[in-house]
Symmetry: D2
Subunit: 350 residues, 4 copies
């Protein structure tokens, strides 16, 4: 299944080191003027090679739009097809992987699933695929903005350096909002230092991406199998390296008494809750408060240490990965979390 969404559908294709990747956005409304510069900005956020913090592969990653638009960039209501050519693909870096399974990667499972695989750069399992998602998500975000909906995602934890507790405390304030996600400069520096420390030791480190969505009216989401948070969970857990999803007070809720986490309803102009432990969703439907969730990412398994593993004949071998790698995939997941959130919310609104 390489299609995501029901009313707004993104279908993607492409191997990391094949000729091109791309996608088809179907169900997007007609008559909307696309801001290509805004797409480029989102693409840049996930693009490798732009800072010391991420992999050094340099991709221009500019999508070529092939359909669904007038010459002026206005949507026709028909499917928007786009491709992103792959370049700078140092396939030879991967030749050793043709018959060795990298630990914690999808090499072994793709082989088990399909009987063969494109071993170059992870093939279809590469995080490079998420470039397609960011293109589509950036378009969805633009449209949501015109409806007064804003989505913000940011890195709030790297290794043991984490804002998690501070954010959860903030949920006891209404409205929980962007300022509650503000990162102090010293915190940002600590996260960067943690990433660089991992990188210098040829290692990698995990991270947390938090996401805040404001401007969603009450009433979005469908019982019982199509709850807003269950769709968000599905979307976030498709992102490479995601290991956990929680919304509102999240996993910590399990430790609480009911009386500690009551979101009292109140009304001024409109209905609001005095706290936001619910994370903006009750019974799977938005309640008009800011929607908040976290996604946990594991450390990328591509580390520069020599590792023991097996080959396709099941012999024990050692493997020392070459090629470029991300010391903290959560960094590049930031725009991807935003993109997938945009696709989910737009899908519900359309």
């Amino acid at each position: 299944m390489n299609t995501f969404g029901r009313n707004l559908r993104l279908t993607t294709f492409g191997e990391s080191h094949g000729p091109a990747m791309g996608g088809v956005i179907d169900g997007f409304p007609a008559g909307f003027k696309i801001d290509f510069e805004a797409i480029r900005e989102e693409m840049a956020k996930r693009s490798p090679g732009l800072s010391a913090l991420v992999t050094q592969r340099k991709e221009c990653d500019t999508p070529e739009f092939l359909s669904g638009l007038t010459d002026e960039g206005i949507t026709l209501g028909t499917p928007i097809g786009f491709i992103i050519r792959n370049s700078d693909t140092r396939s030879k870096d991967y030749s050793e992987l043709a018959d060795k399974f990298r630990p914690n990667h999808a090499d072994f499972t793709y082989e088990a699933r399909y009987g063969l695989r494109d071993h170059r750069g992870g093939g279809r399992a590469s995080a490079r695929e998420t470039a397609n998602w960011v293109v589509a998500g950036a378009i969805a975000s633009q449209w949501l903005n015109t409806k007064g909906i804003e989505i913000s995602s940011l890195l709030t934890g790297v290794g043991k350096i984490s804002m998690a507790q501070k954010i959860l405390d903030s949920l006891s304030v209404s409205p929980f909002n962007y300022q509650d996600l503000k990162l102090p400069e010293e915190f940002k520096k600590a996260m960067e230092a943690e990433i660089l420390a991992a990188k210098e030791s040829g290692d990698s480190v995990g991270g947390i991406v938090s996401c805040l969505i404001t401007g969603v009216n009450a009433g979005i989401g469908n019982p019982v199998f199509d709850k807003l948070h269950s769709r968000l969970a599905q979307a976030m857990m498709t992102i490479n390296a995601a290991k956990g999803f929680e919304y509102g007070l999240g996993m910590v809720s399990a430790e609480k008494r009911g009386s500690e986490v009551v979101d009292i309803f109140n009304s001024f102009d409109q209905v609001f809750t005095e706290t936001n432990f619910s994370g903006g969703i009750q019974g799977g439907i938005s309640n008009g408060m800011p929607i908040f969730f976290n996604v946990a990412f594991k450390p990328t398994p591509t580390i520069m240490h020599e590792l023991r593993t097996i080959d396709i004949l099941h012999n024990t071998v050692t493997l020392k990965m070459k090629g470029r790698h991300d010391p903290c995939v959560a960094v590049r997941a930031v725009p991807v979390v935003k993109a997938m959130a945009a696709l989910v919310v737009a899908d519900f609104l359309l």
Copy 2:
């Protein structure tokens, strides 16, 4: 959307206090003999009224099967329709709720979504709906058992009483397995005490349900938007009161270095990993190891304290809930987690 699954589809209906609930199971293979006693056992686990730990509503909750079966209980391959009559519905307990919104409940959001709602017992938003899921999941489980797949779910945390750390430590052992989920008697008692303490103070408490699936061969799951864990996440987050989902090492992964969580491949008869931080899933596809995940449940918002809230005219009012209630919904979620896991895995296999 009241349909779950793609190849094995469960469609459900029913309000908590309406004439009946029920479901249609479509896509189940022909020629399979149903074990009705096993369904009854799973139903009993989620059934209220069976212990002091759960709500006192007494429902026999025996599904009446209407189609899809021969007289001998063998599946015809056609849809299996069933209903569960509602009885013991003390609707008058709920009359106050006709125009007041209970905090943290779906009352306000259903009203926002639909413009009206069945306020009696939560209507369609009631956890009673999950009885339908357990019927279908119990059938799916029986079928999975014949394929050598076993699913086990259990309560591993209530409030601050938690096995979480112990279980995560166990993931460093391969094969991670049922014995690693064994609950010491004193731990069970501590959880019960915690629930009773909450109950006695008219309060509720959250909890964690862990799930282990063994016997799934490598190769189950579909890239890129239909990953095994993203489907599990979606399924688990549809369960009432679920606030978080994590698999394998889960949220804690974010705090780790890559070198700490390498699941080294090895082979004896068949391929295995020496640890199971991946929770049995890599790249969204099963790797043949036990699949492990946790679901966090919030404390039910139905507490016996007087609470401030608003009514449908947005006036501030107070509310003191009557009726039966669950001090810890996670207890009754145990068979539901198993049922939904069974539906997801069966869907992938069919």
Copy 3:
């Protein structure tokens, strides 16, 4: 697949001679008052036993609604579940069929598909299933009426007695409308005579059902795989015994020159075409003109002649069917065509 539709979804279940049939209507809007009497009227049209022209099985066929409605019959927006109990099921009439395959029936193909089947009355393959469709379609029709959309279906051919040519000639007039489908009394009598003649000789006869939908605005339908007429075709061809579908000028179009069938656009208040050879649909999207299509039904294969066939061991045997039967299934298909058309159009509008 026992689910029909995308936004308005009908999921059905039930064997002809099992305990009950039923369905779940999901996606229907909230706040709509159901007219149960109107449902009964549509049910009566397809009900057997009401005239000499159709099978003598007597079923009250009153659906019991189980969910999705307030006590006043107002929709809640949640799924509407209903069941229809089977009664008057003379299963013993069918005992001979347990191991013989009736020609032109689904006996052999169900056995090939599932390895077993419910032989009593055709099981799930029975036209009795369409009672579920009529319940759902009658509800959809009521809703469409409030949008100014009217659907009419009627028998326009039985055997060689046919209005086909007359109707196609009428398409050259705009607006093509209900009066163009009026059946002269002598024509009705000729059709009845044809059906009775077939019945008296223990035989059956085919027929044509025509359908006219008025009040659909221009712009309904989706390119390229979800065209309005392709969805109608799919819907009509699911009806038991349907063998052909055509819209507008239909099959006869193949014999025409382009210059003979130009639907010239004109405008008065609103856009219209001076003829309606297009049948109200151009490029898969409604053009605001009346939508017109025909469905051809084969003569039911249940005839009272002794027939040669094979049994499940593939031995040649003879078979003389007992039980009740319809001399012309097209008669009972009339409300079913209307119901399915209503479900398709409502699905596009929702």
Copy 4:
């Protein structure tokens, strides 16, 4: 909805005169070696410009494959993305159409549906879109061939010149097969003459495409809303200019008595029917006999006569179409019918 199929899914995009068209084939099995030459052959059949009988637009129409394949052309199991660049697009031929609605075209309905449209060459409504379908269908056909399934489509009627009666008579013979679809040379010449006569008078003419599928085992198809013939009907009716679909004895069935069209079961090695009035499908499921159906195509509305119509301001105007055109679109529909049949059958088998 620009996605077709459930297990084997084709998603397409592209306007006739935009930069490119293309598609994504998802769900195709891994490890299959693609025969690119066979794709080219199918593409050539629908390609314009190759004979006097079809439009003079010259397109090389060679798909560029971007993903899902190894360098050796073996499928990876991941989505196969391809694009077809548009060239030879004489857009200026269409400038008059920017504000005039061509009769019987999708110009008016697209404008009604989307509020704007790409008027050049019909945009997304152009039959050029079917090139994408032929690429995907050709791949599906190759795979079906390895399962012993062969699909053949051919033109069997143009205007009044028709093989229809002869073919229907042949259904009374078992096995109905390819030789029964053989076209006498004089018949082919008569069809060509009919097309050329239409062309010379600046007119167009309708036609019939017949399709025969052999080698499908009994048991393919799903009750009740996913019948094999209802899926075929939907698929065929999505083809540009299709006006009717019938299978087996088709529309003519309506005129018959049941006793005239009994397909007696018999058995030799395997089960067969002595006639094939059922067209290989009973109860929506294949019975192992050759599957046969017809699709009727209207004459293309692009004729070289001056026509009266309206413009976007609803003023009456005249229009004389320029540009290339097909005198008989049914000719180019021949490979498209085959392609869509292949996609449907492969979807059921996967």
